[in-house]
Symmetry: C2
Subunit: 172 residues, 2 copies
Amino acid sequence: MFKLQPIVVKTVAVSLFAFTGTVCAQGGAVAPAPNGITLPEGYRDWRVISSSHREDNHTLRVILGNDAAIKAAREGKTKPWPDGAILGKLVWKDEAHPQWEKATIPGEFVHAEFMVKDSTKYAATGGWGFARWKGMEQKPYGEDASFVQECFGCHAPVKDNDWVFTFPSRLP
Amino acid sequence: MFKLQPIVVKTVAVSLFAFTGTVCAQGGAVAPAPNGITLPEGYRDWRVISSSHREDNHTLRVILGNDAAIKAAREGKTKPWPDGAILGKLVWKDEAHPQWEKATIPGEFVHAEFMVKDSTKYAATGGWGFARWKGMEQKPYGEDASFVQECFGCHAPVKDNDWVFTFPSRLP
């Protein structure tokens, strides 16, 4: 799926190292998605909205949100989610727990994918911009900007939930 | 399991309201566990360490950590986890996603449980203090302080992993 030329990536990376030494530490060296969306900084520190286990493709998922998304989730204002909200989904392959075989835990990291809400900019895809970075190498998914049609198509079953599969999980 | 007398709880709650109005908003009205451990403040805002799906008791789990735990997890310093680290596990009953039946998502909230590392204070139980609050009502688990033997016994299979089932999940 990923065919961005390695030479281009290398050039970008070298440039970043040469001119802005701090960018790398912030994740800036990761190439943007083909539609221009850049990897959200600091997403590993975002708070949890929910989790899931897909038994069809054997993956575990944790769904995080930026501050705007967390605020909306906790206030129950997710139909629609507000502009500025970003949902991040971290996906791992299933692995059996070595000391508790009936427990499935995250194994190999598959990808991190994001939905960025901007009802004007992304009006053609339900108000959401889609992006995904694959594997530990964080390779952008998609050959060109049309990859979002695949994302959007898969989200069609949840059109009535503002195109979002995630329901914020209940907590006291 | 929960037999702390309602009158005592009510008295404590009234006192908290009367003298420290802000305590309630911080979760202070939740009764402590029978071993004296209090519900960690702000745990809903902690960052993610991992997740799991227990297919034996049909629950989904997200494991969070306080700042000390996140630091240790990211630096790979978890054998042993440092004093001050707290792990929080949020547990929900399995529910099928209404629009994607092969996806299991968090349904009813079951409990939040915690492991508090203090190698001196909790030396008798592997250096960990255990506590659990059940349901949306956040009722402390256990009739008296001996409930921790049940927790500790269940964790025996992971003695070699500092008594912890969770392995920090891999992320780029």
